[in-house]
């Protein structure tokens, strides 16, 4: 079950060029390429003649030619040439998907094209803003359902167990989390006061003593999540996260770059946009934005290498979960307090998906 009318990350911008690229998105085969002017195109990856994936074909100007019998499709999915005949049958066309290039990603709309509204792409303005650096790792192929990834990033208590040796601290569950949610968002805020920073944050921020931390998770269905981690030295006069403040608000406030440590403020975010491939596999796109050490290669490496390894720790857990759920599909489960945010996200998404299914009456029309 997938939400059709939504944007999904189809690829990093750097992954798509003048050679066709194959993707599976919401169980559908999709081929991506760029026109001569660089505009990205997404078509159904299946020739309407004999089903060869068009990603096995070649790009001709702005079009895609099938690698079997040479049928040529324009960027709208219309077959414009069939070698050996001048007439093209009416049905000779394939699906074309709305695509938008934004925040270094190519976003695809899998539902009704008329409803594709660019404004629904999450406003991740830090990507590409000059005061921020954006680390863009390759996506991770995960043998697990995308909602398990939503659950994972919406719950930061697992850091103490899954990431015990990297970014985890057992301090997290000492502080309460506050969960808010609306029709289309879930936000979890946890303020951690006067505690030692976890190892990687310490290296990144150069803190010498304890820190005040704000953890904010902001989730928008079906699968966009910001994991904000703000650190300030204890007693800093810099703005603190408060319940009800969004990551957008907090990060728009001025950042200190003083070297005295006391006023240092670190804003670090993981942006997650896992794209469902099938019910049990996901192409997990994610990146990191920060407002400190923009040109520091050591910090760059921490995020591009060490933090990706943290995500790989999650991968092991998510895939083991999926295998067990596939083995025991009806097994009972209990909910615990930290599930508040993930469960809220699942409820919102379930309602949105239910809204997409035609009613029985509609099926009769």
């Amino acid at each position: 079950m997938f939400l059709q009318n939504a944007w999904y990350v189809a690829a990093w911008d750097r992954e798509v060029g003048r050679t066709p690229v194959a993707r599976t998105i919401l169980n559908e085969p999709v081929v991506l390429y760029r026109k001569a002017d660089g505009t990205p195109v997404a078509l159904e990856d299946r020739c309407c003649h004999r089903h060869l994936p068009l990603s096995k074909g070649t790009i001709v100007d702005d079009d895609l030619r099938c690698g079997y019998h040479g049928l040529r499709y324009d960027a709208g999915g219309v077959c414009v040439e069939i070698p050996g005949q001048s007439l093209i049958p009416l049905g000779a066309r394939i699906r074309s998907y709305p695509v938008v290039e934004k925040w270094n990603w190519i976003w695809i709309w899998m539902g009704e094209p008329a409803r594709a509204d660019v404004g629904l792409i999450p406003n991740w303005w830090w990507c590409g803003h000059e005061d921020w650096a954006f680390v863009r790792p390759d996506s991770l192929a995960i043998a697990g359902n995308y909602q398990l990834i939503n659950d994972n990033v919406l719950d930061v208590t697992h850091l103490a167990y899954v990431h015990a040796t990297s970014i985890g601290t057992s301090a997290i569950t000492d502080f309460p989390a506050h969960v808010e949610h609306g029709d289309r968002f879930v936000r979890l805020t946890r303020l951690v006061a006067d505690r030692p920073p976890p190892p990687l944050y310490q290296r990144a921020g150069g803190f010498t003593g304890n820190v005040d931390r704000a953890q904010i998770v902001e989730h928008t269905p079906p699968c966009y999540t910001i994991n904000y981690a703000g650190c300030t030295a204890v007693g800093s006069r810099l703005p603190q996260a408060r319940r009800g403040r969004s990551v957008d608000e907090i990060t728009r406030s001025p950042s200190a770059s003083g070297s005295d440590g006391g006023d240092r403020k670190i804003d670090l975010m993981a942006l997650s946009a896992p794209t469902p491939e099938t019910e049990t596999t996901t192409n997990y796109y994610f990146g990191f934005v920060r407002n400190f050490g923009l040109d520091d290669p050591a910090i760059e490496k921490i995020l591009a290498v060490d933090f990706v390894n943290v995500f790989r720790e999650d991968l092991v857990v998510l895939e083991a979960q999926q295998r067990m759920m596939s083995l025991k599909p009806g097994a009972p489960q209990i909910d615990i307090r930290v599930d508040a945010a993930p469960l809220a996200a699942r409820r919102i998404l379930a309602a949105m998906m239910a809204g997409e299914r035609p009613s029985p009456a509609a099926a009769l029309r």
Copy 2:
């Protein structure tokens, strides 16, 4: 769905000897071996006692002994010995299949033995004829339905796309194809006049200028296809293919071996006999016969190596097609002009298969 009452290639003659060989043919497990006098034998590859494949057993004189409890079967599939007991139960027998060794292949009849008529094996007399050389590559294991291979060899326009860098020329679709078909055959003829020879044919034939080409595809259901390619220098007085002439007729006419190029005539044929293993896998047997450069190792290499690589180009396409068809089994498809011959072959085969299914009335008897 397979046609049961037909000959299929079970193996190259060289593949079967005094060690049992396992095959899957039309979903059935088959074991092949030779008697002491060299006669090939095909039995059900399953001991009637505890299901061990007999291909795990050993040959004893003309019989096959199971590798588990030693049950011994004669070439007719009758169990003739059960170690530890003198009485052999009536049901102790397995299927034995009619086999014929012809054209360096071992042919097997999977249907009713009484209907196995050697005359139904295609008359590929060039194999083994002294004026012709027969190149016999190892079969290709293809993860695709055998009818996709029929489609492929019955359509020569794909050469311009799939084989663009090897034997393809875009000239092909400039000339019309003529398709004839009867109850039990499909023939496609295309005459290409005064064009440059494709690279590999040029090397093989030593043509210096343009050539006249005849492409003839002759298909006999369920899966026997001749792809004839004749080349003569432009203006040659040698016999040309005409519509309605069979490959047999054309190739029986005298061949010139003059070195002047003007009268050079090249007759080259690919013989295809793909054997269905399962609905989605095929053991593709094929070979090449030619009437020129019989002792020329360079030409031998072109066929045994380069042309096999051409078939591997098809393999990539066929397997991608099959994967997509398995992913989207009900996807619509359109037909185009070049499908005339493949569609005719599919219609004939469908009718033959329908004729094999017992009618509902027969099932009541």
Copy 3:
């Protein structure tokens, strides 16, 4: 179909320690570990919260902590801690299985815990007895149903075919086998008089001439089998196996260790306890006990290496059988004389399994 109320070997004692170990037993995921005092524990390998296998977690004192959100389970499967909350829901528990450590194996009871009777573990007293040596190879992962292994060890005639080059002799089927069975056992006895010993036994026993052999197979459902092989020099005055004598009786009689060969008696047993993983895979636990050459490294190697290779010969047969049975699930089969013991074992087991299924009336209660 598995018998639930029975002991199965879950692991060798050496395989389980202070790191969780995952097993699949009767299709159920199981995690094994030891408490601080060494007591083995077996729990359901699935956190009741979000299904992560607990084998991905860590041992804390006598308990197991989930590697995702830190839920902690005691050895009884009760969740005793949920990080971040003080109340533990009633349903927060997983299955705990009775386990017993005996004969160097850890035995698990998969059925109703109240019925777990240690007395039902087979009395393999030779394991660990000072007059006997016990060779304990690693288990073999077999892609075949466990009853195929029962069949295999209950039938010694296959030695002549499967193990022709190792322990097999064609002499076996010259002598009749006597099969007895009761409610809960099957015993096959075959006395082989005055024949040459098979190669490995000759090396082990140092016989210079012919031997009298006793082959006894004792099987207790669902999957415990002793394959006893006793050898004495021909004409020895030592006790011989007779019909109706159990392996226990025979092996309790004094063993000669004289070096003259005439009175040498070799008692060698393979103990089999294959544990069903799924319907088509088995974790085959087995070992060898002997009363001769206890400290002889050459004999140790014969059993630990050569005899394990004999079992690997069976593995090839069993997996080929399983593949064929999965390919042709409804294929007919005939029974032969040597099936008497395997069929008796299957009948007993089928009756025991039928007794476990609730009657239709019970289902209505």
